[in-house]
Subunit: 245 residues, 2 copies
DNA sequence: GCTTGCTGTTTTGTATACAATTGATTTAAG
DNA sequence: CTTAAATCAATTGTATACAAAACAGCAAGC
């Protein structure tokens, strides 16, 4: 209602490569804002407000929101707007279980295909992880931890699986925000677990690698408190019989 | 206090996606048109033309196209429009390989969870499949064959995996259009394979079920001719020697 | 006092207008 | 006749205007 500032200066903006359209930038901003927990689950994402913030029209914002919605980190309700996803315990369990399925396949392929360079890269990532824990940079560690799994997917070399795992890893971050419980100390051991996995990959010990990966994901699941706060949707389950009649 | 969460929506659209808006209809039309091969790979999907056909503005069409693009059955090129995907041989291999990973996980879970009713449903689907083969309704059979795998995913009960498999199955259809080779007769045996899988599921013989499912997908892959017609890039390979001299 | 129905405001859904980019045709030069 | 540049047409990207739906506040009735 205040400034209708037309950003006419778009014509002479940074000499950036025109290749990509501007929405990629906005998408990246919002995506990382959600993953880094600067936008918490349940936050309403108003089209108008976001348009103001990024100085673009709602058209562009809507496109970005739809993309985020398809990746499940945002949920769009008809005529009522977009919100940062609040995964239910059931959804959370599905995501973790899906990761077990996908990452078992990935780790098997990695064990077969890994090169010496791959191992070096993974070990480099591990060092960064350790560093971020040491410096107590929690949100950075969350990102790095996810990157480790995605790096394995890259080595496996299946683009489709990599894309899917990326979705799952994103959702895992959201889930951790909502359901992380007790022992934070435990999380640091995750770093050791990554190290053990690298070792099994290096040794091309498929059985051990798979076992470690499964245990790793299960450990991640056990850190969560998925039983307490089943959301409001329960109400609808409870009353659906009555309402349906 | 306990947030005014918009879960009311769930009551209205019965659990499934956002929906309620007219674009779902258009999406379904285009999706099935692609899968049933009425739109072949490479076809240009002009926003204007589609808008004319469905009597809506480009706004709605763009939304649908983006959704299809995210599901990989349509590919959008910046400033140049949307086209029905033409999966490359590499992409095709990735999709089939991803299916092996995902469906192994699914079949294992199905073997554990299946109820008597599940078995009956699967057998019902099998009959329909056999019928469509008998009647030589090829495109119907393709759809039913995909539905069988998706039914298994439903029984496994993991929404995330089901959604992903749905994408993979769609892509598989597109791939078959592009790369199906020789022996069409072979495909009918697929129906027997489905029957064998049901039997292993019924008997809760996990090992056999997994083995059969893997063999089934591999058989599907072998029906394809993924080596011959590497897309246009081949031309460049072919002429690069000449042009380079 | 609590619920119920109405009205006004806010926010999303869709259509349309305009700008920018692509590619195709034409035209001119070698 | 071939090649290359320049203009033109067609299509997509973005902004904005208008329509419809949802939410909130207020008033009326029980």
């Amino acid at each position: 209602m205040t400034q209708i500032t037309p950003v006419v200066e778009l014509g002479r903006d940074q000499g950036r490569a025109k290749s990509g359209n501007q929405d990629d930038h906005i998408y990246a901003q919002m995506f990382s804002a959600i993953l880094e927990q600067r936008l918490s689950p349940g936050t309403k994402l108003s089209e108008d407000v976001l348009g103001e913030i990024f100085k673009v029209s709602r058209t562009v914002i809507r496109k970005v929101l739809q993309r985020l919605a398809h990746e499940k980190v945002v949920k769009i309700f008809s005529n009522r707007g977009a919100y940062v996803s609040e995964p239910t315990p059931d959804e959370a369990r599905d995501v973790l279980d899906a990761r077990k399925v996908v990452e078992e396949g990935i780790i098997r392929r990695v064990v077969k295909k890994r090169s010496a360079a791959d191992i070096r890269m993974l070990e480099g990532m591990l060092k960064e992880e350790a560093l971020s824990i040491e410096r107590d940079e929690h949100s950075k560690w969350v990102a790095l931890s996810g990157d480790f799994h995605l790096a394995l997917a890259d080595i496996a070399g299946n683009q489709s699986l990599t894309d899917y795992l990326r979705e799952l890893v994103s959702m895992t971050s959201l889930i951790h925000v909502q359901y992380q419980s007790k022992k934070i100390g435990n999380q640091s051991c995750s770093c050791e677990e990554h190290g053990d996995i690298i070792e099994a990959v290096r040794a091309q010990d498929e059985g051990t690698a798979v076992r470690l990966m499964m245990a790793h994901i299960e450990a991640c699941e056990e850190e969560l408190n998925l039983d307490g706060k089943e959301p409001i949707s329960d109400l609808y389950k409870i009353f659906s019989d009555v309402a349906g009649s």
